[in-house]
């Protein structure tokens, strides 16, 4: 049998380094669970979870090319987006629903998060923290929308219409009456900050954050 494109794609992704937030997310997921990755991109996190945590993984992804790449690697991925395609899933269909670095690009983050908490027994959400001190100082001193390695695009090119800080996100979690089971702030190198109990410090020093949430009725 000749080497198929499917196999070569699989090899190339396995060689890539694991994204820092993916590593943190993987640590939060229990082995053998059912996981939906919303905005799964090229399927890197799904593959990590399947290979290391033997999860039953599914994905939703907006880009056709990415969906194709995922399907070609044997992943079960649906072309769709977080705003429109979560409503069809039944309640508690998954143990975890993951939204990694995507919520800031959704049209209705609150509705999306509500859906995550409805579909999943747990929701894992990672996002870039707009409260990081570099962003605060950039805005203060330049008077322009900050551009960082984390958020490199100009305001008019960026898909990120709903950027938020760790405190903002935390407020939304409170509004949705969900439980924060874990909240990790980390820097751009994926190093977890050793700050556990101060939201203000996490908000100042974390470049990104990962929240592990549970709907109240789960407890």
């Amino acid at each position: 049998m000749s080497e198929s494109p499917g196999h070569s794609a699989q090899d190339s992704i396995a060689d890539r380094p694991v994204r820092a937030d993916h590593r943190l997310i993987a640590e939060m997921v229990a082995p053998g669970s059912r996981v939906l990755d919303v905005g799964c991109g090229d399927g890197a996190l799904l593959e990590l979870l399947i290979s290391e945590k033997t999860v039953d993984g599914r994905g939703v992804e907006i880009s056709r090319d990415n969906v194709n790449a995922c399907v070609a690697r044997g992943l079960s991925v649906i072309q769709g987006d977080a705003d429109q395609d979560l409503s069809g899933y039944p309640d508690k269909a998954f143990d975890y629903v993951v939204l990694s670095l995507t919520i800031q690009a959704t049209r209705q983050p609150k509705v999306v998060l509500e859906n995550l908490l409805r579909i999943g027994r747990r929701a894992i959400v990672s996002f870039p923290n707009f409260g990081h001190w570099k962003i605060r100082t950039a805005l203060l001193f330049t008077g322009r929308m900050p551009r960082t390695p984390n958020l490199p695009e100009t305001w008019f090119d960026s898909q990120d219409s709903h950027l938020c800080t760790i405190k903002d996100f935390s407020d939304l979690v409170t509004i949705l009456d969900a439980e924060v089971e874990d909240a990790v702030a980390f820097n751009s190198r994926g190093q977890r900050l050793a700050i556990k109990n101060s939201l203000s410090l996490q908000n100042l020093l974390g470049e990104k954050a990962v929240f592990l949430l549970a709907p109240r009725d789960q407890r």
Partner: protein
């Protein structure tokens, strides 16, 4: 000039081809399995068909543990000649770009089966077959069939071939409806499934177009109440009109406009007659007249009826119920410019599958070719099929 001059006439060559097509009913140039009268096929309508003949083609080799069989389900006017030259028209197989050695459905690796559907006219039992009760062709005495009945007949063939579980069931358009029906009725027997450019039910618009086609056939005096077999006439003009109307639904508006626009056919000004002045008219007439050379008008009536009756939601109360407990791995594919079975309809399937936590992928392919895109050389579509099957084959341990 008479109006007759502008309708579709058959040349002697076409008549010869039509005769060759008619011979396929009784002596198909393909593999055939005949189930005796003692093993009738019980239909959804409660009626029975016996004896039952299924004409089919296979490609590749069935492996020792019979785990590499793929069933291809053909569309309304397709047949079992997926990847070989057509015995009547001499043209290449209708999915020869997709199925073959080294192709996305790789016959070096998989054992591919395609059967002419029940009600067809390429060798499987249909309205042109002999009715054992009368000794004459069934005509409209043929029982009305459903997509479920077609699938039941295919299951007979799969049994006959000694295959318990199909590695995959793949089909576009009406073929996709059969795929869905397979997955609903024979859950254990389908490991993976690719419903392509299809729908879980026929909409009012789908039925409407079909009814126009049927009425065109039945309005042709040569139809003779369906009893035209053995007479010198057959409803070629009615069937050609049906095909013309249907063909429009297979193309996108953009594809029509880009290909034909308002272009004139072999002339530089309007003829002020009802000649085929426009390129699009000429094209449709050609589509109509070549179709009637290879297809039986009564088959067209019965198959379109079966599609109109198709409604998995009605059959199972709720669409998701059709797939409850399924372990099949699905890959649903739609095309952006398909307005016959648009992405919306295909997504209903995906939604229902998600509702029962099924293992499903969904890909919408960018194409401006309309519904026909699934039959054409669409690179991204091919990559999807290849990737999906390869990954599943690896999991299943198919070499």
């Amino acid at each position: 000039m008479s109006v007759r001059d502008n309708s579709i006439d058959l040349t002697a060559r076409q008549q010869a081809q039509a005769d060759a097509a008619a011979r396929q009913v009784t002596e198909p140039q393909s593999l055939v399995v005949r189930f005796p009268a003692s093993e009738p096929l019980r239909l959804d309508s409660g009626r029975e068909i016996a004896p039952l003949t299924i004409a089919y083609q296979t490609y590749g080799t069935l492996n020792a543990d019979k785990s590499n069989a793929i069933l291809i389900c053909h569309a309304l006017t397709g047949d079992q000649h997926v990847a070989n030259d057509h015995p009547v028209t001499g043209k290449g197989g209708w999915w020869a770009t997709l199925v073959g050695p080294g192709k996305p459905v790789d016959t070096d690796r998989f054992f591919v089966i395609c059967a002419n559907i029940l009600g067809g006219c390429m060798g499987s039992t249909g309205p042109a077959s002999v009715n054992p009760a009368t000794g004459r062709p069934y005509g409209v005495e043929f029982p009305v069939i459903t997509i479920g009945d077609m699938v039941k007949a295919q299951a007979r063939l799969v049994d006959y071939l000694g295959i318990d579980q199909l590695f995959s069931v793949i089909g576009g358009s009406m073929g996709g409806m059969q795929v869905l029906q397979w997955c609903a009725r024979y859950k254990e027997r389908v490991l993976t499934a690719m419903p392509i450019a299809t729908a879980p039910w026929h909409t009012a618009q789908n039925i409407a177009f079909h009814e126009v086609g049927r009425q065109a056939v039945m309005a042709d005096p040569d139809w003779q109440g369906g009893a035209y077999y053995g007479t010198n006439a057959r409803p070629a003009r009615g069937l050609a009109v049906a095909r013309m109307a249907a063909h429009i639904t297979y193309l996108s508006e953009k594809a029509l406009q880009d290909k034909f626009g308002r272009g004139l056919q072999n002339r530089d000004q309007h003829s002020f007659s009802f000649d085929a002045d426009f390129k699009i008219e000429s094209y449709l007439r050609h589509q109509g007249s070549t179709f009637v050379d290879r297809f039986d008008a009564n088959s067209y009536l019965y198959i379109t009826r079966a599609m109109d009756y198709f409604d998995l939601e009605a059959e199972y109360g709720k669409l998701a119920n059709a797939f409850t407990g399924t372990k099949t791995q699905f890959c649903v594919v739609s095309f952006t410019s398909d307005w016959l079975y648009p992405t919306r309809d295909n997504k209903e399937i995906v939604k229902a599958l998600n509702g029962v936590a099924a293992n499903v992928s969904f890909v919408e392919i960018e194409s401006d070719k309309g519904h026909d895109a699934f039959l054409l050389d669409e690179e991204v579509f091919f990559a999807t099929v290849r990737g999906f099957l390869n990954a599943a084959a690896k999991k299943r341990g198919i070499a």
